[in-house]
Symmetry: C2
Subunit: 215 residues, 2 copies
């Protein structure tokens, strides 16, 4: 079932705020980079998030919705997620960028099936941009290869990021039932919601394996 | 006279570092924005600076020069410029973005006459992107119209930004004589250098007038 207009505005609002603040946090985390080349790679991820924000905001405006108003209901949850997951060093910043980018991409894929074609085009554009984070995999794998004690610390860190993301997602789902229904297969189907969670968890497991960390 | 390869690498290096760190500082200053729409506008300026960095770095790499190495000689001067001009509030951030963007554009125009066609194409692309800062003019003018005491404070602030930029530019010119010669008309011509400074000062005066501030 196609999502209601209310649910689509919520979806675009939460994505827009996530991309805009994601831009800001990645740009700040880029300051932890050990080299200018590394800084530029994280800055590239940040600039990509801004371009996603820009397209989503334009689409909202085209629907007659002010982007600020669509984003406002989700500011507290996303701000608290970032406050609880502030990287302590460059490697934690990389893991957060990779895990966060991957969760966002999975979320885009889940929502793509629930929305109208115009909204889906935005989603497809955003998905086409993923993969920039591949440099993260190389950096983290080589750091873990050089210092095995890092693996445990970074695995714990990744679990904290996912835990905080799920906690805030739960909070958003309770506050925005139309959005939660749209993401749970249109009818609030419990079995479908469980399958969605399973897919998201599997995606996270694949990313952790790519980083050389245990999920 | 066309600039030497050494001077071109220096020009691209100082521009690349300026754009990369400009991205980082604008992204940080965007956090001072009073609304999400304002935050997005400053984030747009930051993303544009990153795309300039990206093109310059690719051009350096094409010349067989590692961007990091080309940028390194200019890091201290640009870092100190930013450390001395950290905005205290949103309006100071806007004035810095506008004055800095304008100075960078003027600098691009000056260097365009001194370089080879391939380098000039980079410069032209960067110049084509200017004008995004126009929203700054509206924000600053309306703030000054609403509170006349702001005009004096922001005019002083703009003068400090220009003063710090000139101080660091002087430092760079002393340390990198090939670059200084290229920007002074190829031969270190004192009269040409004075004309360059006059043009840069005139450009600043026009921008201050646009903001409704005295230069």
């Amino acid at each position: 079932m196609e999502a209601s207009r209310e649910a689509v505005v919520d979806l675009l609002g939460v994505l827009a705020y996530g991309e805009l603040i994601g831009f800001e946090r990645l740009a700040e985390d880029a300051r932890l980079a050990p080299t200018l080349a590394d800084k530029a790679e994280l800055a590239r991820l940040a600039a990509t998030e801004f371009s996603h924000y820009d397209r989503i905001a334009a689409h909202l405006a085209g629907m007659g919705v002010a982007p600020d108003e669509a984003m406002a209901p989700f500011a507290a949850a996303i701000d608290e997620f970032h406050a609880a997951t502030r990287p302590g060093d460059w490697l934690e910043g990389l893991v957060k960028a990779y895990v966060g980018d991957g969760m966002a991409a999975d979320f885009y894929r889940e929502m793509a099936v629930a929305v109208d074609p115009a909204t889906r085009a935005i989603v497809d554009e955003a998905l086409a941009d993923t993969g920039h984070a591949q440099f993260v995999v190389e950096r983290v794998r080589s750091a873990v290869a050089a210092d095995a004690t890092l693996a445990g610390r970074l695995a714990l860190w990744a679990r904290r990021i996912v835990g905080e993301a799920l906690a805030q997602a739960h909070r958003v789902a309770v506050a925005r039932p139309a959005l939660a229904r749209a993401l749970a297969g249109g009818e609030g189907d419990v079995a479908e919601f469980a399958r969605t969670l399973t897919r998201l968890t599997e995606g996270h497991g694949r990313r952790m394996a790519a980083l050389g960390l245990s999920a």
